[in-house]
């Protein structure tokens, strides 16, 4: 079943390239993928901590390399996110003017690669699947992008290529830090080896730094973030949805998967550096976001900024913070996908996303205005949306780390500053909402039509998921928390 979820989009992409009807095949494939994921969700046993539905094919016995797939709570949540966002992105894509087949094939390749990465138990394939997205992204931005698409496409491709090769060096170093007999890329075996203390503290520090830089580039950690806003602003909306919604979560998922169980010493050693960088994401990039004059750039920067909260959860190395990070990853993926989708629809209708030229659009497009408002509230982290649940868990988890009465340590300071980030995101989200949908209607936009009923389905899907997990975050926590309890149980209150 896991194999089906991975290969359904990829096979559909190949069929589309060969000549199957693009949109129908893509919709069917992503629908089937979501259905299969929901089936996996229903049949998942949270009590069992190990990977479930494991299948394995040996690739190279000499290198202990095998194509192993399976799901635990953490990866299941990510696969669910990927399946939902893929369906929404394909649904929003609509009719494409040129190379329609190639467009849908690229989308499905990205999605299949992301699902494959999340569902891989073997680090080699975890890495390789993620890279499936590289060339499709380049083509998506280059062929169907807008604005400064040429520079954006080069930038994202070269950044991600270098980032992923740094990551590869980190993974190789991790592999080589084990004794020769037990070298493997299998996460389960790596965890067992780490539990036996086979990864020396020195190696942990080196590997963690390489992973932090490699994943950091992929996640757009400050100061490696400059590729992201430009790429998202130029990319066609479905590509931005997939990239900001799913692919960026790959790096965070990797840190949660590797750094916490395998490299606790590395994480401890680099905590201060990571906290400083993530505050750069929250405060510096947050302020930059406020200064944006275009909706698409604003959304691009905001997605970079929100990575800071998730990093805070990961850096807090507390079970609560890490679980909150996963919840926020899930929620952010949905909300940013919704916002990019709506921005894309606006661009299709108006041809511009400059705030000064927009205004009052809620009169012509009430449904779009409502949906954008909900997405913006979710992104700010209003209670009732899943984002709120994630953020509050992260803040509590981070604040509790190293807490002493009467004295603030780095995590307490970081939490206070990060809380200001919520204010910053309120400012830019509400401001962009006002400038786009409220105020006086520009004469030019008198004839605009609202989203057609067909497009309300994916909006409802995204908002529904956000609200559902916002009111019942426990159903996510129940899946995710066991993955961290083993490793972070020592991190209780003093």
């Amino acid at each position: 079943m896991v194999l089906f979820v991975i290969f359904c989009p990829i096979i559909a992409a190949i069929l589309i390239m060969v000549g199957a009807p693009a949109r129908k095949t893509a919709l069917a494939a992503s629908g089937l993928t979501l259905a299969a994921t929901l089936f996996l969700l229903a049949s998942f046993q949270p009590a069992q901590r190990d990977f479930q539905h494991v299948t394995s094919f040996s690739i190279s016995p000499e290198w202990h390399l095998s194509f192993t797939t399976g799901l635990d709570g953490l990866s299941l949540v990510m696969v669910l996110l990927a399946a939902i966002v893929t369906l929404a992105a394909v649904w929003f894509a609509g009719k494409i003017d040129k190379y329609e087949n190639a467009f849908y094939a690229c989308l499905l390749f990205i999605s299949g690669g992301a699902i494959g990465a999340f569902a891989s138990v073997d680090l080699f394939f975890f890495y390789a699947f993620h890279e499936l997205a590289l060339i499709p992204t380049f083509l998506l931005i280059g062929i169907w992008g807008s604005g400064n698409r040429v520079a954006a496409a080069w930038k994202i491709t070269i950044y991600l290529a270098i980032g992923s090769f740094i990551l590869l060096l980190g993974l190789i170093l991790l592999y080589q830090s084990l004794p020769i007999a037990s070298r493997t890329f299998d996460i389960r075996a790596l965890k067992a080896a780490a539990a036996l203390g086979q990864i020396s503290p020195d190696a942990q520090r080196h590997v963690y730094l390489l992973l932090l830089i490699g994943f950091g580039i992929l996640i757009s950690l400050f100061p490696f973030h400059t590729w992201a806003p430009e790429a998202y602003a130029s990319a066609p909306a479905p590509a931005a949805m997939l990239h900001a919604g799913i692919l960026k979560k790959f790096g965070l998922y990797g840190l949660l998967r590797l750094a916490i169980p395998l490299l606790p010493e590395g994480a401890r050693h680099w905590t201060n550096l990571l906290v400083v960088l993530l505050l750069g994401n929250i405060i510096y990039v947050g302020l930059v976001t406020i200064a944006q004059k275009r909706l698409d750039w604003m959304l691009g920067y905001s997605s970079v900024m929100h990575m800071g909260y998730i990093f805070l959860g990961i850096a807090s190395t507390s079970s609560l913070g890490a679980t909150g990070a996963v919840v926020l990853m899930f929620a952010h993926g949905l909300s940013i996908a919704l916002l990019f989708a709506l921005a894309g629809e606006l661009r299709k209708r108006t041809g511009t996303l400059v705030f000064d030229e927009l205004g009052g659009l809620a009169k012509m497009m009430p449904f779009a205005g409502l949906a954008f408002g909900l997405g913006a509230f979710a992104a700010i982290g209003l209670p009732g949306f899943a984002n709120f649940a994630g953020e509050i868990m992260i803040f509590f988890g981070a604040f509790k780390n190293g807490w002493e009465i009467g004295r603030f340590h780095i995590f307490q300071i970081a939490t206070v500053l990060a809380l200001w980030g919520v204010v910053i995101s309120t400012v830019y989200m509400l401001r962009s909402y006002r400038k786009t949908f409220m105020g006086a209607l520009n004469e030019r936009w008198n004839g605009l039509v609202d989203l057609r009923p067909g497009l309300r389905v994916p909006v409802a899907l995204l908002v529904g998921a956000l609200l559902c997990y916002g009111f019942f975050p426990q159903s996510l926590v129940r899946l995710v928390a066991p993955a961290f309890h083993t490793y972070l149980s020592a991190n209780k209150e003093p």
Binding site: A128, E131, G142, A161, F165
Partner: protein
């Protein structure tokens, strides 16, 4: 049972038969000769799988201890045969260009198809050579046949220039090789690599003089593998030579150079200076090859610089003394380079060999564009292609040896690589063109290209067959 030296003899006989046949049967379509050569080489290729390799590496098997048939050499004999067959297929596609360059005169296609067979025999001897004398002789067999091939369409001034450059610089490098061999022979009194190792282990040997001789040999091999600073000839010769010959040069000549390098380095490993020197050459090669490739607008020239860049990655493997990583990378390099040249041969006859001539190929000829996409993705190092695994094994060896400088430069140059390889993809898919007619592809080329695409992806997912073939 077939013994290893019979393979080369068979290939040489095949070449002579084709030459004789060409001389007496003047009326036939010369392409029949190419098909005959391909078929003959295919038979030899099948035969290589029935040759039992010697149990030990570098173990002598014939020709007065000049010759070994270890696993490495058998693997590279297959490699040479496959390359030659692919090059011959490209040459069939390229035949109209050769014919049009000799207007009025009887066409020289016969030799065009026969000479590569001799080159192939030279390459097969070379990978088995474990004695400096034999290394020299087989290297000359390869080089002299390339003199003919590089300047084959000699009416074209660019080709003529390439031929002269190749001739002069090759002759120079040969001189270095002979001089280096003479020094080593003078110090150790031996030409056999095994006995040189023993002689160098003796503390009374003059290591300084041996080192000098080895440096001269490295210079000569540097020419063959296109390592900086001996790469000056590469861009002009690659651009000027007939395209299939360029492919042959960049794959066959380079692979043979690396096999010889791996063998020749064995005796000299006890001298630490050699490794430092190799690190320096690898760094220069990586930086120069990748940076110079960035601004290229001509695809043939771009591939020339990329071949320098790949020599840099291969040298990382040589520095780390990881023979299997080098060999795997060479195998991947063979597949992806041949595929890109195969597409180039067909497209350049229609439009040209600049990158902008590939504009809109995605619409004009989806199959060719897809083949080029796979070749470029693999050259750049995208996972699930053979090129990625090649880089993976090379970087693995470098991490194991903690070659930090090489790794840092390696990662940066990979980033450069993504830029210039994706430039080709960009031209094919982003840009559009006025010419919309379909480009014809012969059935044989289509089959060969499909096989290469499958092999690139297959090895990228399942590398075990090649790793097994090299297991000691």
């Amino acid at each position: 049972m077939i013994t290893a030296p019979q393979l080369e003899i068979a290939v040489l006989v095949l070449g002579m038969v084709i030459l004789m046949f060409e001389a007496f049967a003047t009326k036939i379509d010369k392409r029949i000769l190419a098909y005959a050569a391909i078929a003959g080489l295919a038979v030899v290729l099948v035969a290589t799988f029935f040759v039992a390799p010697t149990p030990l590496p570098n173990q002598a098997t014939g020709f007065w201890n000049f010759y070994t048939a270890d696993r490495l050499s058998i693997f590279f004999k297959q490699f040479a045969l496959l390359t030659t067959m692919s090059v011959l297929i490209m040459m069939i596609d390229y035949a109209p260009v050769v014919r049009s360059s000799f207007p009025g005169s009887p066409d020289g296609l016969g030799e065009f198809f026969a000479v590569p067979v001799f080159t192939c025999a030279g390459l097969m001897y070379l990978v088995s050579a474990i004695d400096f004398v034999f290394i020299f002789v087989s290297l000359e067999l390869v080089t002299i046949s390339f003199y003919v091939l590089v300047s084959f369409t000699r009416r074209n001034p660019l080709t003529l220039e390439a031929g002269v450059k190749y001739l002069v610089l090759s002759a120079l490098s040969t001189a270095f090789l002979v001089y280096g061999i003479a020094w080593i022979f003078g110090v150790t009194g031996q030409t056999n690599l095994q006995r040189i190792t023993e002689a160098l282990a003796n503390p009374n040997t003059d290591h300084g003089a041996a080192l000098f001789g080895m440096v001269l040999v490295l210079v000569a091999l540097g020419f063959k593998i296109a390592a900086v600073p001996f790469q000056i000839w590469v861009p002009d010769v690659y651009q000027g030579a007939p395209t299939p010959v360029t492919a042959y040069l960049s794959v066959g000549s380079k692979a043979a150079g690396f096999v010889v390098l791996l063998r020749v380095l064995q005796p000299f490993l006890m001298l630490p200076q050699i490794q430092r020197l190799l690190v320096l050459i690898a760094l220069l090669t990586l930086i120069y090859g990748n940076l110079a490739a960035l601004p290229q607008g001509n695809l043939k020239r771009l591939l020339a610089y990329s071949s320098i860049a790949h020599a840099g990655y291969l040298l990382i493997g040589v520095v780390c003394l990881d023979g299997r990583a080098v060999v795997f990378y060479l195998a991947a390099y063979l597949l992806m380079t041949l595929l890109s040249f195969a597409v180039l041969v067909i497209v350049s006859q229609q439009t040209g060999d600049r990158i902008s001539d590939f504009d809109g190929l995605g619409k004009r000829s989806p199959f060719l564009a897809f083949a080029m996409l796979i070749a470029m993705a693999s050259l750049a190092g995208v996972p699930f292609t053979a090129g990625f695994l090649g880089k993976f094994f090379i970087f693995y060896a470098a991490v194991a040896q903690r070659q930090i400088v090489l790794l840092v430069v390696g990662v940066i140059t990979v980033g450069c690589g993504f830029y210039y390889y994706l430039k080709v993809i960009r031209a094919m898919y982003w840009e559009s063109t006025a010419q919309m007619d379909k480009i014809p592809i012969s059935a044989l080329s289509r089959v060969a290209m499909s096989a290469l695409i499958l092999a690139i992806i297959g090895l990228g997912v399942y590398p075990q067959p090649i790793l097994d073939a090299l297991k000691r």
